[in-house]
Each structure stands twice: as C-alpha cells, then as structure tokens.
Symmetry: C2
Subunit: 485 residues, 2 copies
Amino acid sequence: MRTMTENRIDRTPLYEEVAGRIIYLVEEGTLKPGERVPSLRDFSRQQQVSLNTVKEAYALLEDRRVLEARPQSGYYVCSRLPEVPREAAPNLPAINPTEVTISEMGRMIMRDVLNPNLIQLGAAIPNPEHLPMEKLSRMLASETRRHKVQSVSYAITPGSEKLRKEIARRMLKAGATLRPDQLIITTGCMEAVFLALRATCHPGDTVAIESPGYYNVLRLIEELGLRALEIPSTPSEGISLEALRYALEQTRVAAAIVIPNFNNPLGAQMPEARKRELVELLESYDIPLIEDDIYGDLAFADERPTVAQSYSRNDSVLLCSSFSKTLAPGYRVGWIAPGRYYDQVERLKLTFNIASAAPTQLAVAEFLANGGYDHHLRATRRIYAQKVALLGEAVGRHFPVGTRVTRPKGGFALWVELPAGCDSMRLYALAIKEGITIAPGPIFSATDKFRNYLRINAAFWSERTEGAIQTLGRLATELLAGRPD
Amino acid sequence: MRTMTENRIDRTPLYEEVAGRIIYLVEEGTLKPGERVPSLRDFSRQQQVSLNTVKEAYALLEDRRVLEARPQSGYYVCSRLPEVPREAAPNLPAINPTEVTISEMGRMIMRDVLNPNLIQLGAAIPNPEHLPMEKLSRMLASETRRHKVQSVSYAITPGSEKLRKEIARRMLKAGATLRPDQLIITTGCMEAVFLALRATCHPGDTVAIESPGYYNVLRLIEELGLRALEIPSTPSEGISLEALRYALEQTRVAAAIVIPNFNNPLGAQMPEARKRELVELLESYDIPLIEDDIYGDLAFADERPTVAQSYSRNDSVLLCSSFSKTLAPGYRVGWIAPGRYYDQVERLKLTFNIASAAPTQLAVAEFLANGGYDHHLRATRRIYAQKVALLGEAVGRHFPVGTRVTRPKGGFALWVELPAGCDSMRLYALAIKEGITIAPGPIFSATDKFRNYLRINAAFWSERTEGAIQTLGRLATELLAGRPD
C-alpha cells in the first residue's frame, strides 16, 4: 500500500478520492453509524477502481476511525467516532521562580526548549541551523533502506558495531585507545552518566562534582539518593585540584564527575598537566572518574584536546560522550567507555531499556564514516567561536557595570556574573515575560550558590539575540535598582 | 556534499575518482606521510575538476584517515594511518549454564539475538518478516525529511505530541480514556516499567509479580534493590487473585507488576471480571498496579481485550506498552500512562536520559495515523495464531511423552512443561551446540522454580523450525534418559 506522505504531488491519490466518497456518504447520512459498508469487491465494482485501491481507502478510513473492520464480517461505519479527550489546561509555570525548587527550575528550562516563541538562551542546546540536518536525514533514509532488518531489530546493548568502531577510531585523536568492544551505546550522554553513577555508587554515597556544575547531573545525583560534594572550579583551569585534594583528605568519596574539556557552565579547559594530576589523584584514592567529554569536539583551537581518560593507568575512568552537541540531540546517540565497570554498565543498560534506537545509530555511524564529520566540525567550531565572542561583547555593552563574563575556549555557553544582589531567579521570571529563556545560576549548585550568576547559550546568536541581550541587561539593571517585580 | 551511499549506480562519482588519484599518489609514494597535498584550488586546476569536487574528495579522504586538515595550512597525508585496536577475543559463553547465575542466563539469551546463525526460539522478539519494514522505513525517511528541525532536536519528555495523540486515540479501543498529556514516551516498554518501579518503590520494598514472570523484569527488581514476591499464575486466568489476596494479608507490598493480556511466558489472558477484581483488590490496599500491555494488540480473537487500567477508580495504574512486538523493536518507541505518578515519572525520565530518539517517534506516529496499523495487526495476529498452533502441534509430535504446552490466546510465546527431571538449563547448553537458542524455565523465577520448563518463541516458525523442535525433542528425551552432557 502506498502511504499518504509519499503523494506530495498536487493530484490526490486515487484511494484518497475513494475514501472521500465514503466520507461523503457518511456525512450525508447515506451510511449510518454502525452500518455495514459495501464489501471491498462490491465497492471496487461500483466505483470502477481496483480492489487494491479500495483496500487502501478502507485502511485509511480505519486509521481515521471512520470505518472499523469486523473480521469475517466486513467494514462498518464507526458507531461513535471516538474523540481524543481534550488536553487539560497546561500547567502554567510558577510566576515567581524564587518560590520553585531548584530542581523544578531545571525542568522548566528544559521545557522552555519546546516553546518556539522563546529566544533560546537557556538550555545548552545546539542551534539546528548549524547541524547537518540535510545530510543526516539522507543518511538515516539510505541506511535504514539498506539495512532494513537491522534498522527495525533490537540493536542489543552494547549497540551498533559499526558505530562503536567509528567512535573508537575518532577517539584516537583525543588520546584514548579504545577497542570497539569497550564501548556501549547509550540514549545520549545523560544516560551514559546515569549508568556510570549507578555502576559506581550506592545510595548515601558522596560524589565530587565541579561547582558550578551541570544542573541535570545535580538532579541525577539527588534522584539516585547520592550526596553532591561541590568542588570549586575556575574558568581558567576547571576543577580546583587543591580543593579536591583537601576534600578527599576529609571525606570518603565514591566517584567524581568532571568535564575536563569546556565544562558546563564555565567553558573551562583543564590544562593537560592538570588532567594528568586529576587522574593520578583520584587513582591514588581508588576513586572512579566519570569523565563527561560531550563538548570535546567543539574546541575553538585547531586541535581537539585529549581526554583525561588517556592518563588513566588502571582503567578507572568511565568516559562518556554523545553527538548531541555536534550532530543531532534528537537522535539520542551517546556512548560510554566504562573501563573496568564495563560489565556493570552493560548489565544496567540491558536491564533498564535493552537498547537504544537502531536507525539513528546507523545514521550517525555512516556520518562518521563517510559524512565529512571533521569538515563539519571545523565549520561549526568557527561559528561557535565567533558567536561566543560576539555574545560576550554584547553582554559587555548592555549589562550593568560590574558584570563579568567568561571567555570559553570551546562549546557555546557563557557564564555571566552579575553585580552582587542581582537575583538571576528573578531575572528568569522577568525575562520569560519578554520571551527570553535563560539558565539562572542557582540551578548549577545544590547549595543555593550563584544567585547573581546566569548561563547564556550563544548558539542562537543573531541580530535578534542582540535585542534579547539588551533586554536582559535592562532587566538586570532594573533589578539592581530595586524595581519591584 | 553528496554522500557515498546515494551513489548506487554503477558509475563511480567524480569525487571518488579524484580521491582515488590521491590514494594512488600516496600508495605509490609520490605523496609521503606528513607531506602537504596540493591545495584545493591547485588540485582543482591540475585535475580540471570543480573546486567542489576536490572539496568532497578531500573530505572523504579525511573520513578515511588518508588526509588530515590543518587549519590555516591545508591538507596533509596522515603521518600514521591510525588503526582501530583489534577486537579482543569474544567472551565465550559458559559451557555449562547450570553454573551461570540466572541473571547471567537472561543476558545470554538477549545476546543470542545478535547471533544470526542461531534459530531464534529464545528471546521473545518478533519475526522481522512480519514487521512492516518497507513502509516504516519509508515513513521514517519522509517524516524526517518533512520535519527536519524536529527530527534532529530533543523530543523533550513527555515526547512527540502527535505520537501521544495517536496512542491516546488507539487506547480508546482498549477501554482506556487517556489524554495525550497523560502519556510519556519511553525507550521501549522496558524503560516504562523501569520508570514505573522507580516512581512507586524504594530499595527494600516488595513487588508482587506473576510467576512464572518475565525475566527482564525480575532482573530489574533485583537491580533496583527490591524484593520479588512471586504470585502463581495459570495459563487460563493469569495471576491467581486468591494467592495475591492471601499474600497481601501477610506482607506489605509496594507495587504489583502484572501482564493481564497474554502474559509472558504463559500467554494467559485474564477474564474481564478478574481484571476488575485485580484492580479493586490492589486499590483497597492502595497499591499501585504497573500494567504491562505490550502484547495487548496481538490478540488472536477479533477484538483486542481491554486493559485493567480501564477499571481503575483512583488513577493508581501505571499502564506501560510499546510497539516493539508489532512494529519495530529497534525503534525503541514505548510509552507509559503513569496516572497519579505522572510527575515522578516525567522527572525521572527527564533526569535519566532527557528524551527518547525523535525520528523513530515521528515514524511510528505517522504509521499510526496513516499507515494502516489495524490492517497490519489483523494480518500479524492471523499469522501468529497459526504459528503458535503449528509450533504447539510440533512440540506434541517431537517432545517426550508427558510434555505439556500452553495454548495462548495472543502473543507468540509457548510455555512448555517437560517431564519432571528434565533440566532446561542443560537443554539450553545442548541446544546452543545445535544452533538453537531457547529460554529455559528458571530465568522466569527468582527462586529457582521451573527447572523442567522452557519458553519457545513461535514467531520464527517455519519448516526449518520443525527440524529445530525435533532436535529439541530428541535432546530432551536424551536428557531424561540420563545422557551425560
């Protein structure tokens, strides 16, 4: 049977016309609800169209809930056209986010992604304009056409072998020597970090994490019944090893989560020597390192930096990443190289959802093999470097005196420090009313730090964004001046 | 740039020819490793091809790791062609499965799915031959082409609205009145059950489950630190309400997981009155019911049965399902209607992996709307009814005297009781050597029941399968006779 979607030419396909005649007969009252419609053969003769056309028409009408088939009996007009219950009134976001929990705030920002009327300076999503949509969708189509059985079948964990080979090949550039059989495909990097935490920690355990730190990971730590130990980070060097060393002397830590390359939200790149030192420090305590390298491919410099994993001597790094920032967040293709935790991670993934979607794995594997990924990365990195610079300048122009902003070396997020007393949770509430979403500082901490900070996504920089930055600057100035909100 | 995969005509595309010339120059030694190759412009002039063709050729060579680009400098022959480390020797399955843990056995059966040389009587996977592969892959292609931005963007939880609408519409037939905003899309039904358990239970809690019960759910219960309370089930009526009532009087239970329609592995369909009674019983104790309806659409009768959820009065049923048995397990499109646990489930899903893959959601939504899903189901149900019957007869012909087999009313699995003393774990080991995978009984229990039972997947029934059943019967007979293995 042909599908409706393929008939995009002007002429309506014949079976739709035939279906239209039935709908006419129903609406007109000739065919009553509950009544039997002519058999396929009768109607084919009456309308002088092929039996197949009538079959397609009836199948379509069944989809549309106009007809229903009763086996061994024929087709009937649906006795009552079932109606999908109407959507409930949407839950309006709380007016004053200072009253919502930090966790709820994180969800609000994720949900803002779905609102096409907002200027997206909040969640760290890539700009679809800079994703290779055309080529990816062509590869998705051709790969699923070429591997029909494979694309509908479980890509049972550890996932597509071709994809794991391509990832292993690419990661050589980052200093990681991985065999394909050391990799597990996941539903995005978030799931990789989730599995890593589940494999290394037990409820009640303490996890060291950068501060400020990615809010979804903070929520994950909370959800798993773990405790976050926030280690200060700086935009220049990332996580403070001095603070971490001190903390480890005081506290038992079950795992550390670090983003050594262009961390979120600071954009910090750890110097190579410090990556090595980080791994050595953790290994001396036998603490596994969960390394999130999701931004590693988005270095502004010519060379992509190495991963801390490359300094590991006892396989205690669980390296996590995905193609959500560079190819397609919607494809949910992430991966983890869990080192000596391979068995636990594989078992957990298999138990929690068996496998990730197969078609998008095939498409990403093909893109890595033959899509010009490096070529694409070079262009994207140039664009984001420029946008980050322009956005930083705009913040300088429009924000209150005393505002400071990071100069990240990769990724597409800026971390902004407002003058003390300027509450970014209130700024969020005011900005939403102006059609702008931002990520307020407090969600990057479990201990209510960073009230006067915010993260801005530079990926959507454009002239329209300049206006949004101007608006944010004005609102921040008004907040500082004590404007009631 | 065009992609390699699209050029399926005989003539090699021009840029591949150009790439071939570079490879020739490298192999011949004219271009040495580390050496700069001609600039795009120079090579385009030399070879008298367009600049774009050379660009495509160089990008391809970069993918293949023949060239590397150095920004602001040009392209160079890769100084050392990086090699992907070889695969380690595969972990051979344990020779004697009676020595592997039940949990490890479950994983072995899932991994057997990946072995194309095995006759797949083990895992309950559908036969790709009966999946609408052609139409699905066309819809995947057309939907991602039509919704380019949407297909690469996060389908942020709760997931595609169109898909949720179609599911809500379909579930009316099962007696469930659901609004789209009461549904959450998941990475398969397994993830739905996982989220449901996480939302309703705490470590140490007890979960009532049918016995025999689906092994992946048993592993999930174990993984979450929960205790399984196994309630006997019968092929005719499903879970024993008498036993459940008795158990609830004795023990505090946090949740119950039941498959009222064509449960796994018995294929039992609960009578409507008993579904109602089940819900009332659980509601009287305020115990949430996690209802797995993954086989609901595969009734052999004309009408699909209702879901137990339709009898709920206080929204305490978490209804889970997916399209893994009817459309495409590899698409990983499942869903949950978590009732009053909506907020918890949404939060967990968002935290664990943000969203499920977008393209496969679009394809399934379109298939439900315009793909003739009902038409497809009727054909599939007829096929599986026939295969289940034929397989049951074959078991009768070839298995030892005293063997009993279920007559399920839906789905595609048969539950076989061998004569006492016939160990199905040993049968698994013998069968694997003959190229056949089965699901031995003990994995369907956490308490080492069902030693002389096995589940056989009828989806792959064919003449080849008749031989496999004959082999299984012979092996079982030999085991009974005390053949050493």
